[in-house]
Symmetry: C2
Subunit: 207 residues, 2 copies
């Protein structure tokens, strides 16, 4: 279809579609005539994905580009892709600054992950985020060790288990990866919203 | 103590301390002489709290003000406070736009929350966030109902259960509320980081 029809079908404004083409978030169409290109279903799908990453994941264009490039890179394993997605999804602001507590917190977190037997890269962004949280708790005067994360780790591992099991192994690689990315972004928002609602519910009437 | 000592103890730069005073995030000290005020432990504690909300929660000054005002407002129940915290913690950007799917999604989410028996306000921000997520999944062509949220709701409710139980009921009200706010912000970051690490771990070797 032509670009105007692509914009219509994907419910994305035409200037935005053109912007994504310029920024490399969307692959060029097949040139049919000078100044005219043809777009297919995969373009519609990609535009919908971009929209969800933008509106639910709140990602900027640079982060979305990292993710779509990773999806399109046939050499990346699913494992590598999760690392890429986690980096892209990590907060756009720089790391928090909780020195001098950070060094010990990093060691504590690395030890916990070792004890859990989790196979994650040494530079995984999640390690830094956990260490920042631990350092923040200590800064607030709470004398806690990484064992405060164990229950959360068990819950997260269980959730990751259902989530990966829910991806049909027969899906083609690109579709499976898209599903993983969407699931990561959308269900993170879902879980965070539900946890806060559950807090509100459980504290009702407690004064 | 004097303001310079306050900055030193709380590890917050002096100009930032002055900025928080001007912005009303920090209560004025007790005036001891013209141009000199005395600050106490509660000021140190408040500065540490602000730092965690800023660095882990990534909240801007306006949102932090809403939260500290709520903590200081002795009339608010814990239930009301959770609502305030959830609103303040909700994304700074406006709502996502997934019309026309939103209307049905809102009804579906309200029905789910009714079935769960959760006592949360009709205008709780979490309802909108869940509806946005549901609308986004449908926009991506997934024909799903709010029952996809049930497992997440059960996990969130269980987590909220331990979290509220871990707050010592003997704590004074202000300290208990501070703990709730910190727990909401810090352990949300912790859980999200752990979930992504668990994805990376569980997809290792799956190709």
């Amino acid at each position: 279809v032509r670009i105007s029809e692509l914009a219509h079908r994907s419910k994305v404004p035409l200037p935005t579609v053109k912007y994504y083409l310029r920024e490399g978030l969307l692959a060029p169409g097949t040139t049919t005539r000078p100044n005219q290109a043809d777009y297919g279903d995969e373009h519609v799908r990609r535009l919908r994905l971009i929209r969800v990453l933008r509106e639910i994941g709140r990602l900027d264009v640079g982060r979305i580009r990292e993710i779509v490039n990773a999806i399109d890179d046939g050499r990346l394993s699913r494992h590598a892709l999760f690392g890429t997605a986690a980096r892209a999804l990590a907060s756009e602001r720089g790391p928090a600054d909780f020195a001098p507590e950070m060094e010990r917190a990093r060691e504590d977190v690395d030890q916990l992950i070792g004890e859990l037997g989790w196979n994650v890269r040494g530079d995984a962004v999640g390690r830094r985020q956990l260490a920042e949280s631990l350092a923040a708790l200590r800064r607030l005067g709470r004398d806690v060790g990484p064992e405060v994360f164990r229950r959360y780790a068990a819950a997260a591992d269980e959730m990751a288990g259902w989530e990966l099991a829910s991806i049909d192994p027969e899906l083609p690689r690109a579709a499976a990866i898209e599903r993983m990315v969407v699931g990561t972004v959308v269900f993170e928002a879902v879980f965070n919203a539900l946890r806060r609602l559950a807090h509100e519910h459980r504290s009702a009437g407690s004064g």
